[in-house]
């Protein structure tokens, strides 16, 4: 008997018996990845407007925690934050337009968003003033087409 709660990232060692039938176990992402990776996977699911607003907030307040900035953007979207959502969007758009053509290409297609995220973070580190801007820049970079389309649509 094996607890699902303790499902490992690595499948159990193969045995002759296991090789003849598919394993019923499945893998869950690890729980010990860096918090920035967990936040990054969520950012990759955000719509472009939220990514730009987060980038805008990170340029206004370079310090901080990307997860908390994402929640601050949620507040701004509802008119509840100290900064107006449109102001954040404009600041993010300016920053993205200013930096996007300087960012390195990412020719490697990776089936793992976590691996792709971590690689992008490393590549973009020189372009960001802190971890929050780095996180939102990386998310915009990985979703560049959607972000550019959003900006082009005005």
């Amino acid at each position: 008997m094996r607890a699902l709660a303790s499902a490992a990232r690595t499948p159990p060692a193969s045995t002759d018996t296991q090789e003849t039938r598919p394993s019923p176990e499945f893998l869950l992402p690890g729980v010990d990845d860096p918090p920035l990776t967990e936040v990054g996977v969520i950012l990759l699911g955000f719509d472009p407007g939220r990514l730009l607003a987060g980038l805008g907030l990170s340029t206004l307040d370079g310090a901080g925690d990307p997860g908390l900035v994402a929640l601050a953007v949620d507040r701004a979207r509802h008119g509840a934050g100290p900064v107006d959502h449109e102001t954040l969007l404009a600041a993010g758009g300016r920053r993205w337009r200013a930096v996007r053509d300087a960012l390195p290409d990412d020719p490697v297609a990776d089936a793992s968003p976590r691996a792709g995220w971590e690689r992008t973070l490393r590549a973009l580190e020189p372009f960001a003033a802190g971890p929050t801007e780095l996180a939102f820049l990386a998310a915009c970079r990985m979703r560049r087409r959607a972000v550019d389309d959003h900006l082009a649509a005005g």
């Binding site: 499902a7 996977v41 997860g67 929640l71 507040r75 509802h78 008119g79």
Partner: protein, 424 residues
Amino acid sequence: MTLFVPDPGLLSSPRGRRFPGPDPRPRTGPPPASADVVVVGGGPAGLSVASALWHRDVRDVVLIDPSDRPCGRFLDRVDGLDQRVLRSPYQHHPGVEGFRDCELLDFARLHWSRLTPVERREVRMAQAGHRSVVPVDVFEAFCRHVADVHHVAERTWRTTALSVTPGPGSVVVATAAGSIEARSVVLALGERTRPSEWDAVPGVHRWDGPRPADGSVAVVGAGLTAAHLLAAALDAGREAHWVMREDAERYQCSDVNAAFFRAEGRARFGSDVSWADRRALMRQHRRATVMFEFRPVLTAAERSGRLRVHRGRAVTGIAAGPAVELADGSRVGADSVVLALGTVPSTGADLLPAEVVGARDGWPDLDEQTLSYRRAPSVFAVGAATGMALGPAARNIDGHRVGTALVAGAIAARLRTPVGAGVG
């Protein structure tokens, strides 16, 4: 085959961590003299309906609640049991669907660095679609976030509602701090402890009140509250008795069959289903159950003799001492007795005239389409009181979301109708 093994470790989240973010607090002083909508009750259901109204551009809302923070009474009850996790899954949470708001699961993941390894594992289990639990700390922080983003706290007055009086074109809500005239009122009153004839017996305590922290204890009741009380007593090294009418305890993931969280389950409580059939379904599906995670703890305690379980014993009385008298003539003596007999929905009878509530078998007479009181269409109910319209999941947090969407839609439509144009 991958089997789920209940892990008592899931029950032991830390409590009292301060997650960063706003700390919205209610206002004090007299509430406004008028509002489009008054919501009575600031628990998960009241918070959800206020949030849903905000998204429907209904902004002139006043929420009345005696607590000092969002979902305060709910959290106080949870903390009173030293309960560290909620068995509502991550997918069920206060708030509104359809507006791309941050949901509870993502909220937890955005605070990844603040979660323990066990809590992170719970998140992974929820992501995989498996049974999970939600740490109370995470839930409380999320409630604060929901109250903040939907501007609920700034529209909340900390006071107690005294009465709700429907009139021809408006409803008057009398509170301890002043009266409010509203076009619509939503009652989000939650549940109250089931009254008992033994409450006044010396040595007998209710689960939600003060109770001794030492000495032997007899807990009466078969549900999750009883399990929490027993686990805490055993953890403190106390001798414990568990008295239940049922033949056996029921260990389950959820207190409600999952079908009732879906439309097909709710349809079993549709207006075309007879009252008798709905009552029978409710009796069948609203039963005392205990989270799976308690099974190893309670089973081991019973085996070791630290816990004595008295199954299939109806309580006929409680004598001073105290001693629980059972139907077979036996008695269970202990230094204290704690009654964990469950809760009953608050129908609104404490606030509304009885003829408006139209209570039947303990349930208010509601229009199933709008959840308004049939005899006062300007007054609505959300949460536990809507059980006979929405099914047994109405008392659960997911049921609140379904109910509040209905009510917010109905109220927004009413507010678009000029006063005097058929609004009762």
